[in-house]
Amino acid sequence: MNESKQGENMNRLLKLMLGFLIVFSFATNSYSRDQIKIVGSSTVYPYATVVAEKFGKGGKFKTPVIESTGTGGGMKLFCAGVGANHPDITNASRAIKPKEKTLCEKNGVTDIIEIVVGNDGISFAHSVNSPDADFTKEQLWRALAAKVDVDGKLVENPYKKWSDIDSSLPNKKIEILVAPPTSGTRDAWNSLVMAKGCTKTAKSIYEADGKKAKKECVKIREDGYAVEAGENDTLIVQKLTSNPDAYGFFGYSYLVANKDKIKASAVNGVKPSLQGIQDYSYPIARPLFFYVKKAHVGVIPGIEEFLKEFTSKKAMSNRGYLAQIGLVPLASDKYQSTRTAALELITINLN
């Protein structure tokens, strides 16, 4: 009698396992999406999520799912292929790189729509409790670069205090929190500040050595004066508040949300402002993007409508809801071309 009971038990166990297998195969085979999937930059994430939420509240489509992977990580996922298992949209805080274009093309992602979302000014900020400051790009480069030129020679960065760089700067220890190399904000900082601030002398020495000046100029010192702070911008804000001598850089929206705690220092005499970032008179302004897979339009429901919502005046204009949380809207001619690209699904050239 016991034997048959055991047999029954075994049977039940087998059935349970079979059930699992069926569930799994079901999950894999019939997987199709009715929900837009977005990956990419953590700088664009706050804007994309707000649009997604409004879009979902409209009630016609499910709210898109947005994953914050960083610009580079997002591109990798986006370019991995076409089909429901790959994301439809990737956010980017810089334009797509040639390398990424090749990767996309290799994996069959040939039709990509580029949407310029708006502008962002990278704010170089510190605690409200410290006096106002004004830096030139060269001073910022001298404070951050791994190697600088002193008396026509390239040396390991010798500056310990701001006043070592220029006597007009405060007599305080240099302490700068920098974003990690994977972040789009760091990429933009490199090309807008480090590469631009790099002196001619340094560039010519690099070139005389047969090295690429662009690559060498953006290398950041590793002797403890520049501290890598991770992707978490809120954390940087907290650290700046607790240490009035420290500086950090991040997107304009964080400055807007925390203006009771931190303030921006001027760069080349200009402080970040909505107007200044929009007309690029603020020297470290950059455009923000997202990229759409055209092959998914019409397959995954709602992509066209999402583009329409994102590029609508309600969202993107000077009085739109994205401007309220710190996105700097596009100038009107640029807005028109973005709107057209979104409505007519104009793809970019991959070569």
């Binding site: 699992f20 953590s42 706050p46 979902g56 799912v65 994953e67 914050s68 978490n232 809120t234 203006k259």
Partner: protein, 420 residues
């Protein structure tokens, strides 16, 4: 050194040791206390939300509803105009800018709250009622005292005009704090006053259930086989060492494994509790096998021998006698393993759970977030209101973990047999 001196020295050595022990316990407790105090002081305000008493007038013209409109018409009616009209009547505003500032004192969901009240009551067309409308994040934080108001206007998020309205509302007793139902029922949102952990809790429950269903049977069967049936030789020794090694592997490694195998090769959907559950199951498996084997080992050999002596087969002696006696230890080991899995973040980041998910998942293959990941996401958000939400979610997570650990201790103490 005399005898007395040596005795005194030995006694003082013992006293010193006791003092060190007490001091280290005290320091450890102090740190826990600081942590808990910090989280509670920041997070407890998230369980309340600020509401503004507002008179809402359901103007028939603005609703564009005819007399005797059908239910479908009512559901499709647009309440935006009604909201705007009612809100701008709550305080005199001079121009459009001021009106906009006034409207921004209310949450983005005011429209839906007005609609809900309308659907829940019969025949409010043309009527005026007083509703508790959720206040915007800025007012909420100001009212809770988390946002300073004694700053110059250009450094504040709230304008002087908005402050004047707020003071007027407070004077007239229109602002109060209610229980924050949104926090427990809603999914994620970009508006802190509307964000909730409903979706994250459901996602966590799905993941843990899948983890339990996969890890528990496999771990129990594996440990029974290894402990009771497998021959003791070099191969089983090797397996045993590796199980211990696997239990010590950092969880992020399981995340990478899942990314490569579950997502890239088998192509399971990203960001879903299904994948999270399987990943967590892989991670918890060795962590359950170890206590399972320990509790099987703790059953005295006399039980097995007694069963065998009266003619039971090996299988019967194990499954009828040893396993039931080992069950309390097995269960508590499993629960502690699951509690660890519940608090795990790193592998979930790799499989795409760090996502903005508004809809509450209805099945394990819907995109979802989970409690620890929600903490991570909110801690990165710029808006001030998310600071208290982050701490509150940590409190909820800690409560779940404590409940699970208490359950484990309870099960063991209640059912475990002691062999003296």
């Amino acid at each position: 050194m005399t005898k007395e001196e040596r005795l005194k020295k030995r006694h003082s050595a013992e006293k010193r040791f006791r003092f060190y022990g007490l001091a280290s316990i005290f320091v450890a407790l102090l740190f826990v206390l600081i942590l808990v105090q910090n989280i509670f002081s920041k997070g407890s305000s998230a369980f309340k939300k600020t509401v503004i008493k507002t008179e809402v007038f359901y103007n028939q013209e603005l609703l564009e509803l005819k007399n005797g409109a059908s239910e479908k018409d009512i559901i499709n009616a647009d309440f935006y105009e009604v909201m705007i009209e009612s809100l701008i009547k709550s305080f005199p505003a001079k121009n459009i800018d001021e009106e906009n500032e006034l409207i921004r004192l209310f949450s983005a969901d005011a429209e839906y709250e007005i609609k809900k009240a309308f659907l829940n009551n019969n025949n409010l067309i043309g009527e005026k009622i007083i509703l508790d409308l959720t206040a915007s994040d800025d007012i909420d934080q100001l009212h809770k005292g988390n946002y300073p108001r004694d700053l110059p206007e250009d450094r504040r998020r709230i304008s002087n005009f908005q402050l004047a309205i707020y003071d007027n509302f407070v004077e007239n007793d229109k602002i109060s704090k209610n229980f924050n139902n949104y926090y427990f029922t809603k999914g994620d949102s970009r508006d802190p006053e509307l964000a909730g952990i409903g979706g994250a809790i459901v996602g966590s429950i799905y993941s843990i259930l899948i983890c339990l269903l996969l890890a528990f049977p496999v771990a129990v069967l594996a440990s029974i086989y290894l402990e009771e049936f497998a021959p003791k030789n070099k191969i089983t020794d090797f397996i045993e060492i590796n199980i211990n090694n696997l239990a010590a592997v950092p969880s992020i490694v399981y995340g990478l494994l899942a990314l490569q195998i579950l997502l890239a090769t088998i192509q399971l959907p990203r960001s879903t509790p299904l994948v999270a559950g399987i990943t967590l199951a892989l991670m918890t498996l060795p962590r359950i096998i170890i206590p399972c084997r320990a509790s099987l080992k703790a059953v005295p050999p006399s039980i097995r021998e007694g069963a065998l002596a009266v003619g039971a087969s090996k299988f019967q002696s194990v499954f009828h006698h040893v396993v039931p006696l080992a069950m309390p230890g097995t269960l508590s080991g499993t629960i502690i393993g699951l509690a660890q899995a519940l608090g795990e973040t790193a592998p979930l980041i790799l499989i795409g759970m760090v996502a903005f998910v508004v809809d509450i998942p209805s099945s394990p293959i819907d995109p979802s977030s989970s409690l620890p990941v929600q903490v991570y996401l909110w801690s990165e958000s710029a808006e001030r209101g998310f600071v208290e939400k982050t701490s509150a979610t940590i409190m909820i997570l800690l409560t779940f973990l404590m409940m699970m650990n208490f359950l484990a201790v309870y099960l063991r103490q209640k059912f475990e047999k002691r062999w003296n």
